[in-house]
């Protein structure tokens, strides 16, 4: 997993940012540890059509050790805010994390 670090201010972003709030437009791809903590989370009991077979499932906003946040699926046991998590796989552009 890589994150984009702003050449201007050093803030890291998940995904492919076009610009940084500092005004910077240049980014360096850095290898992320794949470890982070749960910033917030929820377990869904209703979902859009294409995810109905997965119900119930948990999603979380994960704050990576490098600082960037992303929305991810939680695999395995349910997690709570503050729990340490680690990346277990990336499937279809979606990151799956589990309790570390």
């Amino acid at each position: 997993m890589t994150v984009a670090r702003c050449n201007g201010c050093g803030k890291t972003h998940a995904g492919a940012p076009r610009f940084c709030a500092c005004g910077g437009e240049g980014f360096a791809a850095i290898e992320a540890s794949g470890r982070g903590a749960v910033y917030s989370c929820t377990t869904l009991y209703a979902a859009a059509e294409r995810f109905e077979n997965d119900l119930p499932f948990q999603i979380a906003i994960v704050e990576l050790e490098e600082g960037a946040r992303l929305t991810a699926r939680i695999a395995g046991a349910a997690v709570s805010i503050g729990d340490r998590v680690r990346l277990v796989e990336e499937r279809g552009g979606v990151a799956f994390f589990s309790a570390a």
Binding site: T42, L44, A47, T71, I81, G93
Partner: protein
């Protein structure tokens, strides 16, 4: 910039209307509004339509001239504005800007959504398209899930409880029961709200607003001409719109909406009032937590105190600052594209002392807050007499 007034309002009831089309609803609201304001069709110089997802819900696109023609307008500019759940708040904001700046005198704004012709999971899908498709939506997030994460974080940081959330639902259902045009006119108990079917933990069915059909309209003109049309014009003291990032994970702090704070600061400044001067408000309670966060972002209460304030009756009819006397999105219904203008109609009804059973006593200054997505758009409008 010149002062602008609302001289007419019109609404359809909000609810499930299997036999009624988007055009039917939009034109009913528009015609009622023009009649209410004593405005003739040829007097209208521009038309703005707020609509979120007509093309996805009913298939029809190019909706502004489509509805304009249904209302009998010829030649005038007809413009559709899409800003998720803030579509008609934004349409109103742009109409107000145009009248305030002197481009037009008489402008009609209609908000409409026809949602119930689609099955629930398809509705969820269409609504989710107002989120970030590549990130949160790809991970399976729905709007209830995004607001559930906001609620979880708010609980974590401020000690907000499920009882606080449920208190919003109980209050708004009690208010909606007194509104003849509400989708769900049914009081609920705290126990019911707490034990509803779980949708996205901690939000139950009772924490979520309704999927509704409906339309609402207002007609605007410069305040100096208001007496030509209406005996009870309502002045627009200030209006402002602000934007933020679409994805929830891209916001630094999800227990507050930056776009709400920015729009509120501007609207308060234009109106020359502060939160203490607001007598009543219609807030965007798409989920119970959203009303709590909005009360904090608008400065009605301090951060973290929204939940306890609602539970203590601060925002009930008869409370210090009544919020969502119409029943809010929770009970009145949430036909997405109609919601922003619907809020203004409901404030105007109170301010004209025409709100019937739910009438409150102090109605000098009213505030409407219309939120799009998980806070990427916000429109705040302040009305006075």
């Amino acid at each position: 910039m010149r002062p602008v007034s609302i001289v007419g309002i019109g609404k359809t009831p909000f609810g499930v209307f299997g036999d009624r089309s988007l055009l039917d609803l939009a034109t009913e609201a528009g015609r009622k509004c023009l009649k209410n304001g004593g405005v003739e069709v040829p007097q209208v110089e521009a038309f703005y339509l707020g609509n979120f997802a007509g093309p996805a819900f009913v298939g029809q696109n190019h909706l502004a001239p489509y509805v304009a023609a249904g209302l009998g307008f010829e030649d005038i500019p007809a413009t559709r504005i899409e800003a998720a759940c803030a579509s008609s708040g934004s349409a109103f904001f742009h109409a107000w800007s145009a009248v305030a700046s002197g481009i037009y005198d008489v402008v009609l704004v209609v908000g409409v959504e026809k949602m119930t012709s689609q099955p629930a999971s398809r509705v969820t899908d269409i609504l989710a398209s107002a989120g970030d498709l590549g990130g949160e939506v790809a991970a399976g997030a729905t709007f209830p899930a995004l607001f559930a994460m906001i609620a979880r974080r708010h609980m974590h940081e401020f000690g907000t409880t499920r009882e606080h959330l449920a208190a919003v639902a109980v209050k708004n259902h009690a208010n909606g029961a007194r509104n003849p045009d509400a989708h769900m006119r049914k009081p609920i108990t705290l126990d019911q709200a707490l034990n509803g079917r779980m949708i996205a933990d901690p939000l139950t069915l009772y924490d979520c607003s309704l999927v509704s059909d409906g339309a609402a309209a207002v007609v605007l003109c410069p305040s100096e001409r208001a007496a030509e049309f209406s005996a009870k014009p309502i002045r627009v003291l200030g209006a402002a719109q602000a934007s933020d990032r679409v994805a929830l994970a891209d916001k630094d702090d999800i227990t507050t909406f930056r776009a709400v704070r920015r729009a509120a600061e501007k609207a308060y400044r234009l109106a020359g009032v502060g939160p203490k001067e607001i007598d009543l408000a219609e807030l965007h309670d798409c989920f119970t937590i959203a009303e709590i966060v909005a009360m904090e972002d608008l400065g009605f209460v301090r951060r973290g105190e929204g939940g306890p304030a609602v539970a203590a009756g601060f925002s009930a009819i008869g409370g210090e600052l009544p919020v969502n006397t119409s029943g809010g999105l929770k009970s009145k219904g949430h036909p997405v594209g109609a919601t922003g203008v619907g809020q203004l109609c409901d404030l105007a009804l109170q301010m004209r002392c025409e709100a019937g059973e739910r009438q409150v006593s102090r109605t000098g200054v009213g505030l409407a807050q219309n939120l799009g997505g998980s806070g990427a758009t916000c429109v705040v409008t302040i009305l006075g007499r």
